[in-house]
């Protein structure tokens, strides 16, 4: 079986995987990083969103072997030196989660949205660009608020 090595949350991590092993399986089953969730089997819910080389992708739709050498950030790697990422902080402050299952994917997507669009996100942009992330609990109201607030707070970073 092939061995893949990635830099995951800043640390070099290797594991022997099958050719068919998905990135999300590598993270959850091989590395024990269970903060990245699986909510569907058709690449639609976004619960599995992580950053690969700084860009958000759905880890349920990428093969681990194809990402040998990549730098991956998961929800576990966002907080730095015990300090929450501003987007995490914004989700908590604005009650943007209920069951919390969609949350890691939402936060990872939101941070990437800021990378793509800058810090002044209008409501419409946020709603449109959350297309790939489904939440059943919150009606999105507080998620949209949190993404806007988190985006603004990231400016000072």
């Amino acid at each position: 079986m092939p061995v893949v090595t990635m830099t995951v949350n800043g640390e070099a991590r290797s594991a022997e995987v099958e050719g068919r092993t998905l990135l999300v399986e590598f993270l959850r089953n091989h590395l024990g990083l269970t903060g990245t969730h699986v909510g569907c089997d058709t690449t639609q819910c976004g619960c599995c969103t992580v950053h690969v080389n700084g860009v958000a992708i759905k880890s349920c739709t990428a093969l681990a072997v194809a990402l040998d050498g990549a730098a991956v950030t998961t929800i576990e790697g966002l907080a730095q030196n015990g300090k929450l990422h501003p987007m995490q902080e914004a989700f908590r402050e604005h009650h943007a989660l209920q069951c919390g299952f969609c949350t890691p994917g939402m936060i990872m997507s939101a941070i990437d949205m800021v990378r793509r669009n800058g810090h002044a996100l209008d409501e419409r942009t946020v709603r449109k660009q959350l297309e790939g992330n489904i939440c059943r609990c919150t009606g999105y109201h507080n998620i949209v608020t949190a993404v806007q607030a988190g985006a603004a707070a990231m400016k000072g970073q």
């Binding site: 908590r92 009650h95 209920q98 069951c99």
Partner: protein
């Protein structure tokens, strides 16, 4: 810290304690659990909607690499497993229990974890394969050969009730329950003298809960202790434990259920699933832990589903718009098993909503069909009947020229008429119905609407507005228990039989404890996850989480304070009557002598000079059956804009006023309302579990085909809380979890029809998709309505 300074008590919008782990990826959901040496289960599912099971050949499957066991319904019967103990009707003391008109008992069918004689819906589990990996188990499942004898199937609600419909169970017709509620003679008389009668026929389509966390289960059997452990998310740990023990045929103490974070429930995850029992049984059979993860396509096939009610209703009014009576027929589609009829039951008993209705006569039927079994889904039964009532009112306004607000004001029950017994026999206790509706109209700027409509029309858009009222009856499992212990280390343990599925109980229950004991919220330990600790409790459903938890926690807390006063009296050499308890301290009135709560707890443990009955842990238990139902109510105003060319609906404004009696954490309540609205609007505009009527195949088996509400389907909502305390609750609390959904179907569809009224559109069935709206505008026949109307 004094209580006042902490600002964490009842009424404070404090941030949630559970969030820290959930935003850092440290939640513990079912699939996050693993055990050394675990094996993996996969279920082989029925490809037919209805078929007799012939020979099953498992030999080839057993030879596949890695396969450890292949078990079928036959093995399950040989091992003495029992059917799932469904109780289709709610026996809560406040509920109306429908009975068969012909006096026969209500039919309940045996629901085994694996099909034994026939398969009755596509996706029903037929065999479980256990292997060393998921892939090996899948390969094993593919190698099983089954002889099916396909039978004619029926999925449509009305069709399933017909006498010549394909029959699911040999021992009974598809109509499992056929009841009549109300007063037929009085209703007929009222209709005779009515100036106006309006009729409405509809189908509240089937949808499904879609908690974002798919189901998962991990089970282990210990042959030494003969105990089963099941780790699986559900609506309640104790019920899951008891039901699992029943199916396995073992004493309930031989089962331990664990659940930590649960990724959504909404009712459809509310009780045991066949797969949970099969996984536990398989763990015993293979002698290793067995793990199962439900894939999303399986969730669409065989998660319990919701709604699915076929309705014909009529409303009689006098000349000035006063309601005289209503009558009709509700048929609830139970699916393939007699799992739960409470949506039918809970709907029909409040079909007249909070309007004065002198008489009513309704037939209520539960029918079996070749579809996934249904259960309560977000406010079971109430959104359906609120939709019917509010549609009837708007249709009456349109046909007979009444004003939509005036007619509601005229017929809403006034506070002076409460308590009010509705024509089905339900008694509403309290509420300021008109006041709440008027506030919603004001906040939703009802009066400013004509200008907004004109402005939209100038842009080529059709704008509509509607208001809908609702009442919700919260009952559910009436018994709840708590054990509260004051620990010497400054922590309070609260053991309770509810489970949070996202409602934030760790925060809100702790806020109650903070209110009474002035202990920081972070020092309150809410324990719900392990049935070896939690022995009694009804779980989280029917608005019972906070309502019943606060009820029993208050009683137990008062008992602790009383006990604490007697201990403090000893310590401070005073009489118990001289002791006050404030800000976490017992004080001798009029002196500066005092002792803290935790010092008292420590003294009770350490001091041998205390009277015997005061020695030991400072603890109290409250185990109570709460007989009263609760009645949250409120009003929503929805404003939509429709593109007449494309048929797209945009919700431009959505305003709510929900009476929650007393808001423990307003931030969380607003969040519950937001989510509830989205689930209601989702039904009105998007969602549908679609079955092919010809062969019973599910056509909405993934997120590609099942339209989930997404962020760009909504505006920001304007949600307001009303607090008229509920008299029968010690804190005045009404549940807040279901108000968002209750009137959302009604108010959304009524707004759409209002928008399109000028184009001659009288009704649009749910989900009001762009295609349906386009067809309605263009006078084309709606194929789906034609089907629903049979």
């Amino acid at each position: 810290m004094s209580h006042a300074a902490s600002g964490e008590g009842i009424g404070q919008p404090i941030r949630r304690r559970e969030d820290m782990r959930l935003i850092t990826g440290k939640g513990q959901f079912s699939d996050d659990m693993n055990l050394p040496g675990q094996t993996y289960a996969v279920f082989l599912r029925a490809p037919h909607a209805h078929a007799r099971i012939g020979a099953i050949d498992t030999a080839a499957a057993l030879k596949m690499p890695g396969v450890l066991a292949v078990l079928t319904g036959k093995d399950l019967l040989a091992d003495g497993l029992k059917p799932i103990p469904h109780t289709p009707l709610l026996a809560h003391p406040a509920e109306i229990i429908p009975e068969n008109t012909d006096g026969t008992p209500v039919f309940t069918a045996p629901h085994y974890p694996l099909a034994t004689d026939k398969v009755r819906f596509v996706g029903e589990a037929v065999a479980i394969v256990v292997a060393t990996s998921i892939a090996a188990a899948k390969d094993g499942a593919e190698a099983i050969a089954i002889d099916y004898e396909p039978l004619p199937a029926v999925t449509d609600t009305v069709a399933a009730a017909a006498p010549d419909a394909p029959q699911l169970w040999d021992q009974h017709s598809n109509v499992a329950l056929d009841a009549r509620l109300g007063d037929a003679a009085a209703t007929a008389a009222a209709f005779k003298r009515a100036a106006h009668v309006v009729k409405f026929k509809t189908w509240v389509q089937r949808i499904t809960g879609v908690p974002m966390e798919p189901r998962a289960a991990l089970s282990e059997y210990d042959p030494q202790t003969k105990r089963y452990m099941l780790h699986a998310g559900s609506g309640g740990a104790v019920r899951l434990k008891n039901d699992l023990a029943t199916v396995l045929g073992v004493p309930s103490d031989d089962v331990r259920v664990l659940m930590y974070d649960v990724g959504g429930n909404f009712g459809t995850r509310g009780m045991i699933y066949p797969e949970f029992a099969a996984v536990a049984w398989a763990a015993r059979r293979v002698g290793k832990p067995v793990k199962w993860l439900c894939e999303r396509h399986e969730a669409f096939l065989c998660d319990y589903q919701g709604r699915d009610l076929a309705v014909e209703a009529e409303l009689a009014l006098d000349r000035d718009g006063t309601f005289l009576a209503m009558r009709g027929s509700n048929i609830g589609n139970a699916g393939a098993h007699t799992t739960n009829f409470s949506p039918l039951q809970k709907g029909v008993e409040i079909a007249s909503s909070i309007y004065r209705m002198p008489a009513a006569d309704f037939r209520a039927r539960a029918v079996l069909s070749n579809t996934a079994p249904t259960r309560p889904y977000r406010s079971a039964g109430r959104p359906e009947v609120m939709y019917v009532m509010e549609r009837l009112i708007d249709l009456a306004c349109r046909d007979f020229g009444f004003d939509r607000v005036e007619i509601r004001r005229r017929n809403l029950i006034a506070p002076s008429e409460l308590p009010y017994t509705n024509p089905f026999g339900m008694t509403y206790d309290s509420g300021h119905y008109r006041e709440v509706m008027d506030r919603a109209l004001k906040e939703g700027d009802w009066d400013g609407f004509p200008a907004r409509r004109a402005e939209a029309r100038a842009r080529g858009k059709y704008r509509g507005i509607a208001v809908a009222n609702y009442v919700d009856t919260a009952t559910g499992q009436p018994r709840e228990r708590t054990d509260i212990t004051i620990r010497r280390d400054g922590v309070i343990d609260v053991v309770i039989g509810t489970v949070s599925n996202g409602q934030g109980h760790e925060t809100t229950f702790a806020q109650c404890i903070n209110e009474w004991f002035a202990v920081p919220v972070d020092k309150v330990n809410i324990i719900t996850h392990d049935t070896d600790i939690v022995k009694v409790g009804g779980g989280t459903h029917s608005g019972r989480g906070m309502r019943l938890a606060s009820y029993v926690m208050k009683i137990a807390s008062d008992e602790i304070v009383e006990k604490g006063k007697r201990i403090a009296a000893h310590l401070l050499q005073a009489k118990p009557a001289e002791i006050d308890f404030t800000d976490g301290h017992f004080r001798v009135t009029g002196s500066n002598r005092s002792v803290g709560l935790f010092e008292v707890a420590a003294a009770a443990l350490d001091q041998s000079d205390l009277p015997g009955e005061l020695r030991g842990p400072l603890t109290a238990t409250c185990d109570k059956v709460v007989k009263e139902a609760a009645f949250p109510y409120g009003a929503h105003v929805c404003e939509v804009e429709i593109d007449p060319v494309m048929g797209n609906v945009e919700i431009v404004k959505y305003t709510t006023v929900d009476d929650v009696g007393r808001a423990v954490n307003p931030m969380i309540i607003h969040g519950q309302t937001h989510g509830g609205i989205a689930q209601g609007v989702g039904q009105a505009l998007l969602e549908h579990c679609a079955y092919n009527a010809a062969d019973g195949q599910l056509m909405s088996g993934s997120f590609m085909d099942y339209a989930m509400p997404r962020a760009d389907d909504f505006p920001f909502f304007d949600t307001f809380i009303s607090e008229v305390p509920m008299p029968s609750h010690p804190l005045g609390i009404r549940p807040a979890g279901e108000g968002g959904t209750c009137p959302a179907l009604a108010v959304t569809v009524n707004a759409i029809v209002d928008a399109l009224a000028d184009l001659g559109v009288r009704h649009v069935e749910m989900p009001a998709t762009p295609e349906r709206i386009w067809r309605a505008i263009n006078g084309k026949k709606d194929v789906s309505i034609a089907k629903a109307e049979g």
